[in-house]
Amino acid sequence: GEDKDTSKEKKDDGSYDLVNEGSLTFAASGLYKPFNFEEDGKLTGFDIEIGNAIAEKMGLKPNPVTNPFETIMQGLIGEKYDAIIGSMAYTKERAKHANFTEPYYYSGGMIFVSENNTEIKSVDDLKGKKIGVVAQSTYEEPAKTVSDNIQYYSSDVVALKDLTVADRLDAVITADIVGLEAIDNDFAIKGIGKPLWVEQPSIAVRPENDALRKEIDKALKEIIEDGTYDEISQKWFNRNLLDLDLEGVELLE
């Protein structure tokens, strides 16, 4: 990215600031397959394609970039990029620092354990167990409510890998899709039951740039309506991620 002397003032005329003129620069950790990851040196995944589609709808050039999840909010505030489109879920706390669009998918939080684990069959079996979660993920809170023996990670892959090592970790709570991807990559783990918590990944922008949020929301709605969204979702997951039965699950925020 280039240095840019953009003013932080709110604009009322509906125009918005962009870090790079004519481009929508958006960030993801790049460590979250299949949502955002690198292939052949290029960022790809569900999040990225959604971002690309939104940018195109807005008549902008898509410019996906990576930033570690630990510092991704700060990068937004520090004007390194215009938006976070990196499976960051809306929470009340985060909403104090950034403005969020409508969710662009629902994600089910699922419990994963080692393939050989026969002890843990439901969330009730998690009491007092050692649970791994990615620090600052939305699953940190549910994990805390069932156990106080929490192990924090900065990457899901590291956490899930630890499940395969006896005695290191009893369970990991993360997005079902991420765990299933790891299983596809021969991780000796399994998911327990159905998603219990649902988070709402949304797109974050700087608060003073709310005009941009409005435009993104509009574009998001358009790609959902014209079928682009469904096409992308089907391509990656063989289903539409927004089609979720929200009955009986806890919406995390």
Binding site: E70, M73, Q74, E93, K96, H97, G132, A135, Q136, Q151, Y152, Y153, S154, V158, A159, K161, D162, T164, V165, A166, D167, R168
Partner: protein, 221 residues
């Protein structure tokens, strides 16, 4: 200006319980890493000054590999490497990674200390009938160890700081906790300032002890 101090104080009061525990973990990590590093270090130093070309080559390889790559890459690599062989908690995986890293630097400390001992000591030992092994164990090494303590103390301080990197494999030491605190409270600036102070205090304490010991050593001479 006072504003920032008030915030800092708040952050400090809110976090000190967690940070004190995390500081303990940092110290434990450091201590274990130094112990492991010292074992490795002594072993590879002895290999490096041995007569055997093979042992020398192994030691050189180890030292070159460790000194030629970043610690964080070593941590990741060993983490995934160790994981596929033996079962370790994250703490121990981290401590061992730091220990193996330290080993290369400590090997050089010991090699220097051993080679710094006057050759006459070895000759006098042989002349009274000791073999090389006895001379090393009873005469050379004890003297080298005494000399190695100041640089080892320095390595301890370096390790104390380096231990911050094992946060990547999920050890809840000072920096790992700071990261979570910062993200949770969105007071990143203040949190990292506070955790920096924890490190600073620890480093200053150990630097002080080290200076004191060095002075004592100089007086003893």
């Amino acid at each position: 200006m006072p504003d920032i101090f008030i915030t800092l104080f708040e952050v400090f009061m809110r976090t000190y319980e967690g940070f004190l525990k995390a500081a303990l973990i940092t110290l434990e990590l450091t201590a274990v890493a130094i112990v492991i590093g010292t074992l490795f270090g002594v072993m590879f130093a002895l290999m490096k000054i041995s007569q055997s070309k093979i042992l020398q080559t192994i030691a050189n390889l180890y030292i070159t590999l460790i000194r030629g790559t970043p610690l964080i890459v070593q941590i990741m690599f060993l983490y995934y490497g160790i994981t596929s062989i033996i079962v370790l908690s994250n703490f121990w995986a981290g401590a061992i990674a730091l220990g193996i890293h330290n080993g290369a630097y400590i090997a050089e400390i010991f090699r220097g200390a051993i080679q710094g001992i006057d050759r006459g000591q070895q000759e006098a030992s042989l002349a009274v009938g000791m073999n090389r092994r006895q001379a090393m164990r009873r005469i050379i090494f004890p003297q080298a160890l005494r000399r190695a303590i100041p640089p080892l103390g320095n390595q301890f301080i370096i390790t104390l700081k380096d231990s911050s990197l094992v946060y990547v494999i999920g050890v809840s030491e000072l920096f790992g906790l700071a990261n979570r605190e910062a993200a949770a409270s969105f007071q990143s600036f203040e949190t990292f300032l506070v955790v920096g102070l924890y490190y600073l205090v620890l480093v200053l304490i150990f630097s002080g002890l080290l200076k004191w010991y060095e002075n004592k050593l100089n007086v003893d001479k």
